[in-house]
């Protein structure tokens, strides 16, 4: 790679973009204007919100206890502890209690009509027996600290039997009505507190009895960390969304725009290699992505700082303190997060934009890219989630979690997960850059003509051009069909496993109906040879022996892996209960039936599908790594329980390696069957009921009513497995031929 070329392309692209007024406006001017304008707007809106005085009509004001009124003679709310300051935001009108006999139902109707017509925001109905009910309530439940209950009557939903003589008629679909309800509730709570205190004094007791417990608080977190914690939830989201959008628009201009203007072909015929062109463009896009995100971040932060100052001067020092300026170290961590994320988003945007023939077409690709990446950016905003092994494995989210931990000062936790996050992030960056370079190397992408798509011609082409194995697209489609089918199957599975026949029907339906059938149908209709498409080839004897040994020797590692995963992510109570129920069901069945159904059938179906059809399609054009990675992901996702999925995904990598080296699926079936047989065998003989035969004590032990492998056997088994993997790397000429033909 010639760095001089990359530097030249980078400088040219930067100069070109900086001369484009639209880019400059989007990247630099918009962030500077956006947040101050939003801030201004919000302050105006907040002002309107604060200033709005709700209109409340009290019907039956004379029924209110005379010794403790709610409002005074000028119909102003009487100020009480807990409801200070809200009186000026409440305009009361009063109305006497009607005299007719059917007064209440009529009253509700007229009140509803008044609210619907927006004459008032809420109507408070004070029934004649309100004062009596309050006294009864106190007498009956002197220990009660409940608030005065109100019936909210948006339409006809009136439940008078629950009321204490008060009813509220409001339209909760309207903001002003909601505001009226909230303020009135505060006023009534404060009034109730005063009323109970007064009653207690009358009964010769201390009013302090009903005062809430005062809890002295000592917060160990410094103010700066509290602020950082608050900002760390919001700022990464804003920053990364801008990093993505800041990358996308220059990427469209540098790829689709250049294609459209004809300058890309000029560059492609220059001495710059494709990867140098991609790196030059990538650096440009990343520069704009970082600049856009940083300018937005700084502008947002500066605007927030000014608003906080305003709040502080307007008498909200607590809010001002909580929202105060973000500590400088937090900004540093955010910038550190931004660098790899900008590289990742830039490479993704560049690869996606390269697909487009014009800038207009490029715009259409933004939404799918946002839809894929936004959930990853938003995931860390879920309050219950934090940095752990699972979240650190999620691209983008893991890095955000890590930075949040660093901002909040949890350095030990951050350092523990740093290697995983770095590994995932670097892998994502490298894969996305590789994808972008592949796009630029592909003639069909660079010189794509606008063919008119025709369903009949396409189907005809599928049939006419079907190969011996599936194409990479068909392989991925097969995997996606299975995942979608499994998703819908999950909803049926939960409640229907009640007995052994339902276990049988469910397993057969999932394995044959949902996993094997789509793959078989695609093999029949989209390939010329089912046997070749499913990679059913003659097995090299040495590979078969190695596979048998691998099946046995990988099981201790697989079991340890499963236990480790469950240690990090413990199974939920519901899943544990379901698994216990499932175990009870299978204990009662003959061993051969359980093995056939749960060990052999899944191994055969899953291997034919994943390491057979899908792997065979993905390995084309030298895509061995792609085939191993994608099949292991599909394989992992078909296991519905998260802990199983992670273990299956890792096991899938090993099975993919075996599938690649042996050139077929038979050895994978062998390893998978042995692994399943051993797992079910150990579960079938419960450790609390069976005595371990002395002949097996060198490899197994009973610990806390569970079978565990002996450490020495675990170590030896890893050694044997490594030797067997080395055996797999020696291919016979026949296997070599099959693999070479398949990779073409």
């Amino acid at each position: 790679m010639n760095w001089r070329h990359i530097q030249l392309i980078y400088h040219r692209e930067m100069r070109d973009q900086l001369r484009d007024r639209r880019t400059l406006f989007t990247i630099a001017v918009l962030p500077m204007l956006l947040y101050p304008l939003i801030g201004l707007l919000m302050m105006q809106v907040a002002q309107f919100n604060r200033e709005y005085s709700v209109r409340i009509r009290i019907v039956g004001q004379e029924n209110w206890p005379q010794n403790l009124p709610l409002i005074d003679h000028q119909r102003h709310l009487l100020s009480r502890p807990g409801a200070e300051g809200i009186g000026r935001l409440m305009d009361f009108t009063t109305e006497s209690w009607p005299t007719e006999s059917d007064e209440l139902s009529k009253l509700r109707l007229t009140s509803s009509a008044a609210v619907q017509l927006d004459s008032v925001d809420a109507v408070l109905i004070v029934k004649p027996d309100f004062a009596r009910r309050m006294r009864e309530r106190l007498a009956a439940r002197s220990q009660s600290h409940a608030a005065v209950e109100m019936d909210t009557v948006p339409e006809q939903a009136i439940t008078p039997e629950l009321s204490d003589g008060l009813e509220l008629v409001a339209n909760l679909a309207r903001d002003h009505s909601q505001l009226a309800q909230q303020r009135l509730q505060r006023a009534l709570d404060a009034w109730q507190q005063a009323w109970v205190s007064q009653e207690l004094v009358a009964a010769g007791m201390s009013p302090r009895l009903v005062e809430p417990l005062a809890l002295a608080q000592t917060d160990t977190a410094p103010v700066s960390v509290r602020r950082a914690m608050l900002w760390s939830k919001v700022l990464p989201f804003v920053m990364l969304v801008w990093a993505l959008t800041g990358a996308f628009y220059p990427a469209i201009d540098l790829c689709a725009g250049e294609k459209e203007r004809g300058t890309l072909e000029t560059l492609l015929s220059s001495p710059a290699r494709r990867n140098e062109i991609v790196w030059g463009k990538l650096l440009t896009v990343a520069t704009f992505s970082i600049s856009s995100a940083l300018l937005n971040l700084l502008s947002m932060h500066a605007t927030a700082g000014l608003i906080v100052k305003q709040l502080a001067s307007a008498g909200s020092p607590q809010v001002a303190e909580a929202l105060g300026p973000l500590p400088i170290h937090a900004l540093g961590w955010l910038v550190l997060l931004l660098l790899p994320m900008a590289a990742f988003f830039s490479a993704l945007a560049l690869a996606v934009a390269a697909l487009a023939r014009s800038t207009k077409e490029g715009q259409y690709y933004l939404m799918p890219l946002l839809l894929v990446t936004l959930p990853l950016v938003s995931l860390p905003m879920i309050p219950s989630l934090s940095l752990n092994l699972g979240t650190s494995l999620v691209p983008v989210s893991g890095a955000v979690f890590l930075v949040r931990s660093l901002i909040e000062g949890r350095y030990a936790e951050a350092m523990m997960h740093l290697p995983v996050v770095v590994m995932v992030t670097v892998t994502c960056c490298l894969l996305s850059i590789r994808w972008a370079i592949r796009q630029f190397e592909s003639e069909s992408v660079m010189f794509r003509e606008s063919d008119r798509w025709n369903l009949h011609a396409w189907l005809h082409q599928l049939w006419r051009d079907r190969g011996m194995t599936a194409s990479p697209t068909e392989a991925i489609l097969c995997g996606l069909i299975i995942l979608v089918a499994m998703f819908f199957a999950q909803f049926m599975a939960g409640s229907s496993i009640a007995d052994w026949p339902s276990v049988v029907s469910m397993t057969v339906a999932v394995q044959i109906g949902l996993i094997l059938t789509p793959c078989l149908l695609m093999a029949i209709f989209l390939t010329r040879s089912i046997r070749t498409a499913l990679r059913i080839h003659h097995v090299q004897p040495s590979h078969l022996v190695a596979a048998i040994f691998l099946g046995v020797t990988l099981h201790p590692t697989y079991t340890a892996l499963g236990n480790g995963i469950q240690h990090v992510y413990s199974l939920g109570d519901q899943i544990q209960a379901a698994l216990a129920h499932f175990s009870q069901l299978i204990y009662a069945q003959p061993l051969w039936a359980v093995m056939l159904l749960l060990a052999v059938l899944p191994a055969v179906c899953e291997e034919l599908t994943f390491r057979g059809f899908i792997f065979g399609g993905l390995i084309k054009q030298g895509g061995a790594l792609r085939a191993i990675l994608i099949t292991s992901l599909f394989f992992g996702f078909t296991h519905t329980i998260l802990q199983q999925s992670i273990a299956a995904c890792i096991m899938g990598l090993m099975l993919g390696l075996i599938a690649w080296r042996t050139g077929g699926v038979m050895c994978c079936i062998c390893v998978h069957v042995i692994n399943n047989v051993l797992s079910i065998g150990l579960a079938w003989f419960p450790a609390n009921q069976y005595q371990l035969p002395p002949s097996l004590s060198w490899c197994l032990r009973n610990e806390s009513d569970a079978w565990l492998y002996q450490p020495q056997w675990q170590t030896i088994s890893v050694g044997i497995a490594l030797v067997m993997i080395a055996v797999l790397f020696r291919r016979s000429p026949e296997t070599q031929r099959v693999v070479q033909v398949e990779a073409l």
Binding site: H5, E265, T266, S270, P271, S444
Partner: protein, 263 residues
């Protein structure tokens, strides 16, 4: 200088499965020659020239430029060629000088030599008055001149012009042909594709008539006139195309034997 042997390029096609854009095409061009690649739209001219400029990879066959195989030594080939196409454009937000300088640097010309070379090229192409004009403000003729300057700034031995006169007015097209003639005089090996007969008659030393990915005939203009007994080149061109269509429909006999039998 340029040798093309049995060059074939095919693309996947939704309707037919495979579209053959170039079908076993062979020709060669020597230094100081202008080789005209003639054919209607869709004949395969652009595909052939894109392969020669290493933008596309051939499906089969061999193409060598300045002794370098386009498939195995694309980097060396790109240093040996200057490629001007109706599809290659110039950057709107760069001036003529900046653009030529950018490509000169990409070709690895040292700064002092580059400035000197650019002064010469700008003077030769009479571009000095537009050196600070941005691409967006240039006329079509100006843009084509910048494209040529960009293609010759590194003084390559081979120049490829793919329908370079497309869309140019008469004056600019004439100036372009003059520039190409001057480049031939400098000993450059030039491949010039067009579908305008007058340009071929005026400029080319040898031509190949390409139709549906195949070469129907090739040689110098007098040779072709003698072989097909037709002195009007435009008439000759249409005759060959018409006959090729008839033969394709009849699907009988080889094309060469039919032409040789006196059609």
């Amino acid at each position: 200088m340029v040798e093309v042997e049995q060059l074939t390029k095919s693309y996947p096609d939704l309707l037919t499965g495979k579209f053959v854009a170039l079908d076993h095409v062979s020709f060669s061009v020597q230094p100081g020659q202008i080789f005209g690649l003639l054919g209607p739209n869709g004949a395969g001219k652009t595909t052939a020239l894109r392969i020669l400029s290493t933008v596309l990879q051939p499906t089969s066959g061999l193409a060598r430029v300045n002794g370098f195989n386009v498939s195995t030594h694309p980097y060396e080939v790109r240093h040996s060629i200057g490629f001007v196409s109706s599809n290659t454009a110039i950057y709107d937000r760069m001036t003529a000088w900046e653009m030529v300088e950018y490509f000169g640097k990409l070709y690895g010309i040292p700064s002092d030599r580059l400035t000197e070379r650019m002064e010469t090229v700008f003077a030769d192409l009479q571009m000095n008055e537009i050196r600070d004009v941005a691409g967006a403000r240039m006329s079509t003729g100006m843009r084509q001149k910048v494209s040529i300057a960009r293609a010759i700034v590194h003084d390559p031995p081979v120049l490829i012009f793919d329908e370079a006169s497309l869309g140019l007015d008469v004056m600019v097209a004439r100036a372009l042909l003059e520039i190409i003639s001057e480049l031939r005089a400098q000993g450059k090996c030039i491949i010039f594709s067009t579908h305008i007969m007058r340009e071929v008659e005026r400029l080319c030393d040898r031509v190949a008539i390409l139709y549906r990915g195949r070469i129907l005939a090739s040689g110098s203009l007098p040779e072709l006139a003698a072989e097909f007994e037709e002195s009007d080149f435009e008439e000759l061109f249409f005759k060959l195309l018409k006959e090729s269509d008839r033969l394709r429909l009849d699907a009988a006999g080889s094309l060469n034997s039919m032409i040789a039998s006196g059609i």
